[in-house]
Every structure is written in structure tokens, then in C-alpha cells.
Symmetry: D2
Subunit: 172 residues, 4 copies
Amino acid sequence: MAENKIGSMSENMAENKTENSTGNMTDKMSEIKPYEHKVQYYETDQMGIVHHSNYIRWFEEARTYVLEEIGFGYREMEECGVMSPVLEANAEYKTMTHYSDRVLIDTKVVAYNGIRLQLAYTVRDKETGEVRCTGYTRHCFLTPEGRPLSLKRSYPEIHRIFEGLMEISDKL
Amino acid sequence: MAENKIGSMSENMAENKTENSTGNMTDKMSEIKPYEHKVQYYETDQMGIVHHSNYIRWFEEARTYVLEEIGFGYREMEECGVMSPVLEANAEYKTMTHYSDRVLIDTKVVAYNGIRLQLAYTVRDKETGEVRCTGYTRHCFLTPEGRPLSLKRSYPEIHRIFEGLMEISDKL
Amino acid sequence: MAENKIGSMSENMAENKTENSTGNMTDKMSEIKPYEHKVQYYETDQMGIVHHSNYIRWFEEARTYVLEEIGFGYREMEECGVMSPVLEANAEYKTMTHYSDRVLIDTKVVAYNGIRLQLAYTVRDKETGEVRCTGYTRHCFLTPEGRPLSLKRSYPEIHRIFEGLMEISDKL
Amino acid sequence: MAENKIGSMSENMAENKTENSTGNMTDKMSEIKPYEHKVQYYETDQMGIVHHSNYIRWFEEARTYVLEEIGFGYREMEECGVMSPVLEANAEYKTMTHYSDRVLIDTKVVAYNGIRLQLAYTVRDKETGEVRCTGYTRHCFLTPEGRPLSLKRSYPEIHRIFEGLMEISDKL
């Protein structure tokens, strides 16, 4: 069943393909706009700024947005029987974000080896471009039973996409 | 399997039983202390008070605490194949709660008919006893597949407990 | 200072004005699109659906969006020295919302008397239009010191806007 | 006013003092039990485990608990006009935490230089002792106006406490 799923996902991704997936993904990736988040009142704390824990949630918003844009969202992933828990999360807070601010978040693949994936994030104020926060998350891939899963071996199609994304990030 | 689970849960609850479960539950319920919650910094908003959405979460904390105290926590419930989604949640905010305050939450069964359950909550400041918030939640029971489930028919043991709890709440 | 603020806010709102604010607001209100929210992974719980407490937060998202659209956002409100705490929040959960769903939220002024305000919300699935949740919130207006504030007396300009909104909601 | 506050805080802390604050703090610190947190249902996500962003919030729970235990809670800090925003937060997720688990969190001062503070956290399952998560946060100190504040210069009393805590952590 998972195989069938992967099948339809591949077709899904194939829509944007011509010769090679990397080339296509480069185009696809360069088209992806930064993720936009509008700060909500419930995200503030009594210091009058966004509570620091929310940036970790914004990283997830940006991450899932990018994965969906390339046709491999969390929903598709989980339907294929691929879980991708967070191994590490890091955020460096540079300047403060306030209620009703709009921020833009850039996401980059900074490391990928077929088993693990590292993404980096930059949160900027939409209006001024000032950096609010930078950070990264590290991920592995698991079966629903919690066993480690090598994307390279089990899902070579998806593996090539992440490889492509890393190459693109290198070029950016 | 679920049946076995129920079996062990019944035994679990039987530990406190003598002649009838209602009588026993009265004792058990009267022993249950109000649930205590300490206000965390991340629960405040820029108004300098607890964000109103958190009270809905505190109701859940109090609810799961009481269910665990009577031996039928959410974990046991879900292991038995009983889901209990929230049908309605209501909170009336009386006075403000601030960071590092301690609140006590009383939970009462106010309605139960074998299919649906209504619980009422009172949140009080631990120090002054002043009422901070009152509210209620309504619940039904579902199978993991999402089909309605009559506790009365499928789990008569659990049904009698909730009946007992309602009778006790009436007496309080 | 607050007075000056109100001054500039009035001008701000005046941009969209012609003869009377109610007429203008009718136009303005009918132009306001429903608020759109995309369900995030961190909003789900282990039942595999959106945790019920988040709808209360979505109501806030929709409420602040509408207030900003009419030129009287929470930021402007607080800068004017008007606090608007929530007196009551209610949500009735009709059907379940899942990760990555998009929902549209309609907000209506259902009661306003110069001192208190009640808003009603309808959360619908963006794709199917199916109602996910309905609810309401009640609000009062306070000075930063926490004293009750009659918008009708202190800020007649804003008062007329809310009156206008209620009239419009009546017509919808 | 802030000075008076500090005065009473010093007395507050003096209650536990005999000859030198470091010696006293060693006693005090060794008496501080690990912070206990019970996992709530609303902290889970659809993977059936605690959402990773919550550990950042638990670090805050543990941090504010320890500061309160030594008599310098966030409430006292903010009343003294000392803000302590988070500069960086990091969490490494080792094993999964599930609904209704109880975790114990140890907090250590790993760096302090009069201007900046770094704390390290270890989250363990209460029952098995298995490490669930390790992490750290870095903090600075600011005036309410957002200007950097040297604890060493402005609040030598508090400065000595943090110095003492670091020395103790070194010994642990």
C-alpha cells in the first residue's frame, strides 16, 4: 500500500519533471517564496514580545510549507509510512518580534545523507528585513513502528529530491 | 483485547470497591483533591495576564486528573478503544490570573446519560479562594473508527462509574 | 496622548469614509473576506485531529483580523489605552479538522451596547464548506488600569463603528 | 523603588544565609529537587508523542522553578526591573515522551559572567530514569527599556548568587 502511495507521489512530483529531478527541483526551489507568518496575540507573553517557544513552531510551519511546495508534505509522508521526528532544534534570538508583525521565513537544506536531514531557518521582519531569529532542526526518518528508515534505500525517489535540495541550497 | 483491558481496568477499579461501586465512588470522589495548576510564564500574554485559551487547557488537565484518580484515565480509555472528543467547551472569565499564581480547579459531573457527559469546572485562586473562571465541557464517546459508542451498552462497568459520579456531584 | 492617538486613528478610519460611517462600514464589512487559517502540525493532538483549545485561538485570529480590517486592530486599541479582555468564550465542535486542512472563519457582531461586545464565529472547511465549529466570545472594554470603560462616552467615534457593525451583521 | 525591592529580596534570600552566600547556596542548591512535569494531552501531536516545541516550554518551567527556589523568581526579577530574555534555546531529543508520563528536569548553571547566563537541562522519565531530552538556554539581562544590564554592577547581591550557582554546578 505504501508502495502504491509512493507511486502516486512520484507521479505527483513527476508533473514538474522534465529530464532530471535535480534540475527541475532547482527551478521549483527557486520559485518557492519565503514562508509568511503573522504574529498572533496568543503568541505574545507578558514581556510584550513573542514567546521564544513559538519560533520553534514557526520553523515547523516553514518546514512543512516547503515540503508541501515540493510535493512531499507531512501528510503525504505519513501516508507513505514515513515519520520524520525532530532530533534537535535550535533557535538564536536576534531581535524581538511583536504582536501583529509579519515575518518571512527562509528554509534551507544544509545537510542530508540519506538517513538524516538538517534544515536551517532565517526569520526576518517583512517590512524592514531585519533578522529576528535564526535556527536549525535535525531530523531522521522512521517507520510507523519507530524503526530507522534509510530514504536512500527505501524511497530512492524521495532521496534524490532531498539530495537535489541540498545541492540547490549550496548554490544559494 | 479491549475486553481484556476492560477486565483489568475493572479489577483496577475494584481495588477500592466493597459492596457497590456507587458507594465506593462516593468515598473515592470525596477523597479527590481539587486539581492544582501553577501558572507558567508561557501562558501569559502581553496584557500581563493568562491568555484566555489556556483555561480550556486547564479544564482538560483537571478532567484527565479526575478520570485518572477514579482509575479511568485517557490512556486507559484509549487503550480500551474509547475515544472521548470534546463536543463543546465554555469558559466564563471572572477575574484575572497572573504569572506564578497557583489555582485550584474543582471538577463536577453535571450530566450523563450513557452516551454523553457534561463536566463543570471552577478555577479558584489557591491563596484567596477568589473564583477566576467557571466553565464546562460536553463529551461523547466514540470507537477509534469514529462511530458513536454507548458506554451503557458496551462498557456497563464504566457506565455505572459515571452514573455514580453524577449522583455524587448532585449531592455535593 | 491617547486622545492624539484616537485623533490619528479617526483620520485613519476616515480614509474610507464619505458621508456617514455606518454606510461606509457596511461597504467595508461586506468587502471583508472570511479569515483563512491553515492547520499546523503543532495544533494536532494524539487523537489525530486539531486539539479543541486551538479553535479558541482561531477565534482570536479571526477577531483581530476583522478589527484590523476596519482600522481598529488590537495594537491601535492598546495604543489608545483601550483593553478588551475576553469575558466568555464558547465553542461547539461539529466535525473534526485535520492537519494541513484550510478553514475559513466568518466573524459577526451579534451584540453591542456601548460597554460590552459579543462576536460569533463560524469555522468552515475551505474546500467542502462543511461547518467544523461555531462559537462566540464576549468582551468588555477597560482602561489600562483595569477600570471599566464606556466606549460610547469615551470614544464615540469607535462606538459608532461597532454600532454600525452590529447593524450590518443584523442584515447579513 | 527598585532598590527597595532588591533590599527586601536580599533579606528574603538572607533568611537562608549564614556566613557566605556561596556556602549557603550550595546547601540550598543541593536541596532543590528536580522539577517535575506531568505530560498533558494538549502537549501531544498526531505522531502520538509530545510535540517537540513543548520541551522548550518545560525548560522554562524548570528554570523559573529553580529561580523561585533560590528566592529570585521571574516575578521578583521583573518587579526589580530586571528582564531576562532568552538569547538562544537548544533541545536534543533522545527518546520519546508520551501522554501522562511524568518527567523530572534537572537544571544547571553552566556559564555566567555577570552579563550573560547559560543554563543546561536534562529531562528524564520519572519512572525509568531514561533521558528524554537535553538542552540549554542562554540569557542576558535588560532594563525594562531594553538596555543591557550588568548584574555584576547593578545588582551585586544577585550577581554573587549566580556566581555561587555556577560554582556549585561545577562541583556536581
